[in-house]
Amino acid sequence: MKSIIMALMGASLALFGPLASARAAAPINPQADLKAFQGYFLKRFPNVPLAAYVNGPYNFSKSEADQWKQIMEFPPYQFALDTGKSLFNAKFPNGKDYASCFPNGGIGIAQNYPMFDAKTGRVVTLGIAVNRCRVANGLKKLKLTTGPMADILAYMTSTSDGKKINVVVPNNPKALAAYQAGKEYFYSRRGQLNFSCASCHVQEAGMHLRGNVLAPALGMTASFPLYRSKWGNMGTLVRRFIGCNKKVHSAPAKPDSAAYRDLAYFLTYMDNGLPVSGPGARP
């Protein structure tokens, strides 16, 4: 019986396919997207000023905000921050260090990532840049999701605290394509539960999923890496992508995949102008 239902559903969808509205080939315009994206949230939640979006769910739940204030008396990411600073400053076996790989010695630069790399034609997140530095100096890549990588990113991000996020999409076909792919990923429904990132973090932003506030997509990237009580340790933005994918019953992509690089590129570009406020703490 199930097979028959499925056959009918399959056939009906196949017939319906050509009737679906065709996509209009709109030009790729990141600046216009940014204006619309930030404008959408500012209009929808007039009591939340732009810079406050970096505080995510705490704008929408007094109880979560009160707990957060208590937690921040002894920030749960402090240990990671200290470890990250030591790791960042340690010399590689060849005598060089992380600072040698980055402009300004890696200090106060986190707001410029993810960055488009014209040489490879790919998006480079700060984590991937750290791994490139390691490989260039004969070291193994670090896991991009948690552990020492999250610690190093916590330290590097902290040196950009308060600086305005400034992701650049250059007028380069590959950069624009990466941006657009990230945008498409963000808005496409996927997984057995049929949710897009936007389903929860745009349409239902500020609502409660069980006891948790669905954080608006705007400002989301600004506090990463962060300590999440649910994890009991630090995690990077890509760790959160993996978690979200699993939640909608979708198999996650690889941490260094084009899908996640492009998604981070789009999502962080939408936060341009907001202050870096990582590392952060979330329930």
């Binding site: 097979s3 028959i4 499925m6 056959a7 009918l8 399959g10 056939a11 969808l13 196949a14 396919g17 679906a20 509205s21 065709a22 996509r23 209009a24 709109a26 997207d33 619309a36 994206f37 959408y40 945008k183 498409e184 990923y185 808005y187 496409s188 429904r189 996927r190 997984g191 057995q192 049929n194 897009s196 936007a198 389903s199 745009v202 349409q203 699993k246 019953h249 979708s250 198999a251 992509a253 899908a259």
Partner: protein, 103 residues
């Protein structure tokens, strides 16, 4: 794509009747598994693989390894059905995602 879907749908109706005669052989199970693997590969390329698809496929391989070809075949067919659903989803989303974009 559409032809394949219809063919697959037709198969899903017919196969259970065929299978009743004596239980599926090793070759039938292997064929079901390779059919599922092909669809899973397409779904992955479309950035839309379901966890349930992979779980069913894993169960199919495990059953095959144990020599339970009937279970292997049925799990592989479930995996294929789910992979097809995710392919359909990703295909329609190629057109529909723009409707979710904030304006």
């Amino acid at each position: 794509m559409r032809k394949t879907l219809i063919a697959v749908s037709a198969m899903m109706v017919l196969v259970p009747f065929l299978a009743q005669a004596g239980g599926p052989s090793k070759a039938v199970a292997a064929k079901a598994i390779s059919n599922a693997a092909a669809r899973i590969k397409i779904a992955e390329g479309m950035n839309d693989q379901w966890l349930a698809t992979l779980a069913a496929f894993k169960a199919a391989k495990a059953a095959e390894a144990k020599g339970d070809f009937a279970l292997a075949q049925s799990k592989a067919m479930t995996a294929e059905t789910l992979a097809n659903l995710s392919i359909q989803q990703a295909t329609v989303q190629k057109k529909l995602w723009v409707n979710e974009v904030v304006k």
